[in-house]
C-alpha cells in the first residue's frame, strides 16, 4: 500500500481504487444492486420519477426503476464498451503501425496516408456516421468508435518501431538472415506491445466517454439494457425538474473518466518506474 502511494501519489492511488471499485460493481452487479430486476430493465410503475430517498438512494426513472441499480448494471455495458473499443483498436492499429514502421518505404507511406484519412475526421462524427450505417446496438457502437480510435495506436506503434529498428540486436538479426516475420514476433512486438497496452488500458476511460456520447445520441445499446449515456439522454425530457434522472448517471461517467485521467497522469509522471521499465 505504501509502495503504491509512493509510486502513484495519493491522487493516483485513489483513482486506481475507484477504477477497481467500478470493475467490482460490474462483476457483482446482480448481488450489489438493491433492485436487480429493475437494474436489468423491469419496470416498477408504483414509484415513477421519485426523488432520492431511503428506498431509492439516487431516485427512480420514468418507469419507476431504481437509478442506483440501473447505474450499477450500466457499469457492465460501459466498461465492456470501453475495453472492447481499445481492444479492437489495438487489433487493427498495432499490426498496421508495426508494418509501416518496420518495412518503411512505400508500405509506410501508403499505410500512414491511409491512417491520415481516418484522422482527418472529427472523431465523433465519423463514429456517428458509422453507427448510423450499421444501426444501433452494442457491438455496432463498439465498432463505430473503434474505427475512429485505431489510427492513434497505428501512429504510436510506428513511432516505437522506428526507435527499435535502429537497435543493434535488430540489425544483427536482420544481417543474420532471420525472417522478417520472426524478427517482428520475437523482438519488435514484445517491446512495442507492452507500452501500447498500458496506453490502451488508460484509454478505456476516454473510450467509454465516447461510447457514452454515442448512446446519448441514441446510437448505443437498445433499451431496456441499462446504459449511462442513454440514461442521461432519457432524463433530459424531465430536466431540470427531475434532475436526478440525468445528473446521477452523468456524474458517474464523469467520476470514472476522471479516475482514468488521474491514473494516466500519475503513471506518465513516473514513466521510468512503470510502463517504460517493463518494456
Amino acid at each position: 500500500m505504501k509502495k503504491l502511494i509512493q509510486r502513484l501519489g495519493w491522487p493516483g492511488t485513489l483513482a486506481l481504487f475507484i477504477v477497481l471499485f467500478f470493475v467490482l460493481l460490474a462483476a457483482l452487479a446482480p448481488w450489489i444492486a438493491p433492485y436487480p430486476l429493475q437494474g436489468a430493465g423491469g419496470p416498477n410503475v408504483v414509484a415513477k420519477l421519485s426523488p432520492p430517498s431511503a428506498d431509492y438512494w439516487l431516485g427512480t426513472d420514468h418507469l419507476g426503476r431504481d437509478i442506483l441499480s440501473r447505474i450499477v448494471y450500466g457499469t457492465r455495458v460501459s466498461l465492456t464498451n470501453g475495453i472492447l473499443i481499445v481492444a479492437f483498436s489495438l487489433l487493427i492499429g498495432l499490426p498496421i503501425g508495426l508494418a509501416a514502421g518496420y518495412f518503411g518505404g512505400w508500405i509506410d507511406e501508403a499505410l500512414m496516408r491511409g491512417t491520415d484519412v481516418f484522422l482527418a475526421f472529427p472523431a465523433l462524427l465519423l463514429a456517428v456516421l458509422m453507427a448510423a450505417a450499421l444501426g444501433p446496438g452494442f457491438l455496432n457502437s463498439v465498432i463505430a468508435v473503434a474505427v475512429t480510435w485505431w489510427p492513434w495506436y497505428a501512429r504510436l506503434a510506428r513511432a516505437e518501431v522506428l526507435v527499435l529498428r535502429g537497435q543493434p540486436y535488430v540489425e544483427a538479426a536482420q544481417l543474420a538472415g532471420v525472417s522478417h516475420w520472426r524478427i517482428i514476433l520475437r523482438h519488435i512486438l514484445p517491446a512495442t506491445g507492452r507500452p501500447l497496452t498500458v496506453q490502451a488500458a488508460l484509454d478505456v476511460g476516454p473510450a467509454l466517454l465516447t461510447a457514452a456520447a454515442l448512446s446519448f445520441l441514441g446510437l448505443g445499446v437498445l433499451p431496456p439494457t441499462a446504459d449511462w449515456g442513454q440514461m442521461v439522454d432519457a432524463g433530459r425530457k424531465f430536466f431540470p425538474a427531475r434532475w436526478w434522472y440525468s445528473a446521477m448517471p452523468g456524474l458517474t461517467i464523469f467520476v470514472i473518466a476522471l479516475a482514468f485521467s488521474v491514473l494516466g497522469d500519475a503513471l506518465r509522471d513516473r514513466k521510468g518506474g512503470t510502463a517504460r521499465a517493463s518494456a
Partner: protein
C-alpha cells in the same frame, strides 16, 4: 523557398486527404450497410421508395462508377434530399452552417482566453497550490462529458441564477417580432451591421452557455500545453536577461515568455475548433441551437441518413481546411517548422 515547398506539399497532402475522406464516406454510406437503398429511403420505406433510392444511388453500377458518381455529387455540393423534410440538404446546410461556425469560433476564443492565462500563471507558480488547482481543473475539464456539462451549466445559470437564457439563439421577441436581416448568418455580426445593440446583447447572452460548454475541454488542454511551454521558455537566457534588466515579473511572463509560445496556442486553436464542431453534435440539441449539430442529431433520430453523410462530409472539409491554414500559419510564424 523551403517555405513555399512546405506549403505546396501540405496543400497537396490535404487535397489527397479530402479525396480519401470522400472515399471513406462513400464506403461507410454505400458499401458497409447491408441495404444502402433502404437506409437512404428513410424509416419504414415502401418498396417504391427503396427502388427510387436504388436508382438515385446507382447501386447496380460497378463500385468505381458508383464512387465517381458520389464524388462528383459531393464536389458540386449536391448532397441530395433530406428524407425527413424533403428539402435540398445543401439549402439546409447553408442555413445551419453559420450558426455552428459562430458557436465554434466564439468557443475557441473563449478557450484561449481562459486556458492560456491560467497556463501562464500555473507555470509561474510551478508546484504551488495555484498550479495544482489549475492542473486538477484541466484534468476535470477533459474528463467531463460535454452533454452532462451542458446540462449542469443550464441548471446553474439558467434555472437557479436565472442570469442567462436556457436555450435558443435569440429571444422570441427579437427573432419573431423584430428579426435581424441575414447578411453573414453570424448573429453577432448581423446585429452590428444592422446597428441593433439590443439584438447584439441578446445574441451574446444566448451564445455564452453553449460556448462555455464547448470551451471547457480545449481550455483544459490549452492550459496544460501553455503551462509546459512556458516552463520551458522561462529557462531560456533571454528571460534571465530580462530579469537582470529589472523588468517586472508580469511583464516578463506575459510580454516576453508568452509571445514565444505561439506554437501551442495555434495547436489549441485547431484542436478547439475541431472539438467545437464535434461537440456541437452533442450539445446543440440540448441548447436548441439551430446549427449543424442539432440538424444531425435530429437526423439520427429520424434515420435521415443522407443528412448524416452530408454533415460529416462538410464538417470534415471545414476541419481539414482549418488544419491546413494552421499548419501554414505555424510555418510562417516559425520557419523551422517547414524544415523538419
Amino acid at each position: 523557398m523551403e517555405l513555399l515547398r512546405y506549403i505546396l506539399r501540405r496543400t497537396f497532402l490535404s487535397a489527397f486527404v479530402l479525396v480519401g475522406v470522400t472515399f471513406l464516406v462513400f464506403v461507410v454510406a454505400q458499401v458497409v450497410p447491408s441495404d444502402p437503398a433502404a437506409l437512404y429511403a428513410g424509416p419504414r420505406p415502401t418498396a417504391e421508395q427503396i427502388e427510387k433510392a436504388r436508382q438515385e444511388l446507382n447501386l447496380d453500377a460497378p463500385l468505381p462508377a458508383r464512387f465517381a458518381t458520389f464524388a462528383g455529387a459531393m464536389a458540386s455540393a449536391d448532397f441530395g434530399i433530406s428524407y425527413k423534410s424533403r428539402r435540398l440538404i445543401a439549402d439546409d446546410l447553408r442555413a445551419y452552417l453559420p450558426a455552428t461556425l459562430e458557436l465554434a469560433i466564439f468557443s475557441t476564443g473563449l478557450a484561449l482566453l481562459i486556458g492560456i492565462p491560467l497556463g501562464v500563471i500555473a507555470a509561474a507558480r510551478q508546484g504551488g497550490w495555484t498550479d495544482r488547482a489549475c492542473s486538477f481543473g484541466s484534468i476535470a475539464a477533459v474528463a467531463m462529458p460535454t452533454f452532462f456539462l451542458a446540462m449542469i451549466l443550464q441548471l446553474i445559470f439558467a434555472q437557479w441564477l436565472g442570469i442567462l437564457p436556457l436555450s435558443g439563439r435569440l429571444s422570441r421577441e427579437i427573432a419573431i417580432a423584430a428579426p435581424l436581416p441575414m447578411v453573414t448568418g453570424f448573429n453577432l455580426i448581423d446585429a452590428l451591421i444592422a446597428g441593433r445593440l439590443d439584438a447584439f446583447g441578446d445574441a451574446l447572452t444566448h451564445l455564452i452557455l453553449p460556448a462555455l460548454t464547448l470551451a471547457s475541454y480545449p481550455a483544459g488542454v490549452a492550459m496544460r500545453l501553455t503551462r509546459s511551454a512556458i516552463i520551458e521558455i522561462l529557462e531560456r537566457r533571454h528571460i534571465l536577461a530580462a530579469r537582470a534588466l529589472g523588468l517586472s515579473e508580469p511583464r516578463i511572463l506575459f510580454g516576453h515568455a508568452l509571445p514565444n509560445a505561439m506554437g501551442p496556442a495555434l495547436t489549441v486553436i485547431g484542436l478547439s475548433f475541431a472539438y467545437a464542431l464535434t461537440g456541437a453534435v452533442l450539445i446543440e440539441i440540448i441548447f436548441a441551437w439551430p446549427g449543424l449539430g442539432r440538424y444531425v442529431s435530429e437526423a439520427i433520430l429520424a434515420k435521415d441518413f443522407p443528412v448524416i453523410a452530408a454533415v460529416t462530409m462538410v464538417v470534415t472539409i471545414c476541419y481539414v481546411v482549418m488544419n491546413l491554414l494552421i499548419d501554414i500559419t505555424q510555418a510562417l510564424v516559425d520557419p523551422r517548422v517547414a524544415l523538419s
